[in-house]
Symmetry: C2
Subunit: 155 residues, 2 copies
DNA sequence: GTTAGTGCAAACCTTTTGCAGCTCT
DNA sequence: AGAGCTGCAAAAGGTTTGCACTAAC
């Protein structure tokens, strides 16, 4: 079931906790991260076959607007859909391997500094921040090198 | 006309410099930044009415793959389309006002540090990096305060 | 002359909308 | 009871694909 903090945050905005929303919140919190709408829908359908895809989109929108989840693109690895993760206190960057799709997270000083400098420099009030980095993980760097080599000598 | 460096980069990959591509490259370089495919198409059509929207998409894909332009989301301000800008030597963050849509760019130390730390920490080979920050610019912070106040006292 | 690129139409994928009926509080 | 939510169907928005024709090299 959704965490108490999440429930309160929703109730405060006059949002009803329906059967469907409970299920979706539960799945987002429980699951490994970075679900897209369709995956979430597929997971949810296993537990409640009547649940509609549209409800997934509406719920995600609601949670996003309420600041309970963050929306990611993950460099559009795998398509143009969006991915979602429970909002954490700590800002972090997402690092996506463009070959194998593995996603790493990086929590670190530079992100905090960046945020402070932007607030100070522009007088900007930051609501959302997203850093995504695409490239090759160590494992795939080696495999890429082989692929490229084969490509150059086709026979 | 496209810069010599751009032309060479394309030719090296065996990409033909057609009339259409010359026009599109020209527009991307000349224009203020952050064009989306549709805007680029509209601009291009003024100069060559036969040019097709599909050619715009195909050219953008080509340039993106060749590392000549970067693709941005700008936090999906204004829709789910992508925006494009000529790739600069210097990495920078994009800061989008979610109320007025103004985009600022931030070049600074933290982005370089972030890149280096991620390369060092994960042994990651970085090909693409994108930092987008959404919030309210100083001007819109004031206006937002008024809007919210009015919202709370409807009469 | 070849090979790559273009335009057109049509498909595709992801997400949103309108509306009638249902359900949480 | 009543506002808010859901499911269904249908549409929208953005982008990609198949194919016959054309143009760059």
């Amino acid at each position: 079931m959704p965490s108490a903090a999440t429930e309160n945050s929703l109730r405060q905005r006059g949002v009803r906790l329906t059967r469907q929303r409970r299920l979706l919140l539960d799945l987002i919190d429980q699951s490994g991260k970075h679900l897209d709408a369709e995956s979430l829908y597929q997971l949810a359908k296993e537990k409640d076959s009547r649940l509609n895809r549209v409800t997934v989109y509406r719920t995600l929108k609601l949670l996003k607007e309420g600041g309970l989840v963050d929306e990611l693109d993950l460099m559009h690895y795998g398509g143009d859909q969006h991915y979602y993760e429970t909002r954490l206190k700590q800002e972090h960057a997402h690092i996506i391997c463009l070959r194998c799709g593995k996603v790493e997270e990086f929590f670190g000083e530079p992100l905090k500094k960046l945020r402070h400098q932007i607030e100070a420099h522009f007088g900007f009030q930051i609501l959302l921040a997203r850093t995504e980095i695409g490239g090759y993980c160590p494992h795939c760097q080696a495999l890429r090198a082989q692929e490229v080599a084969q490509c150059r000598r086709p026979e």
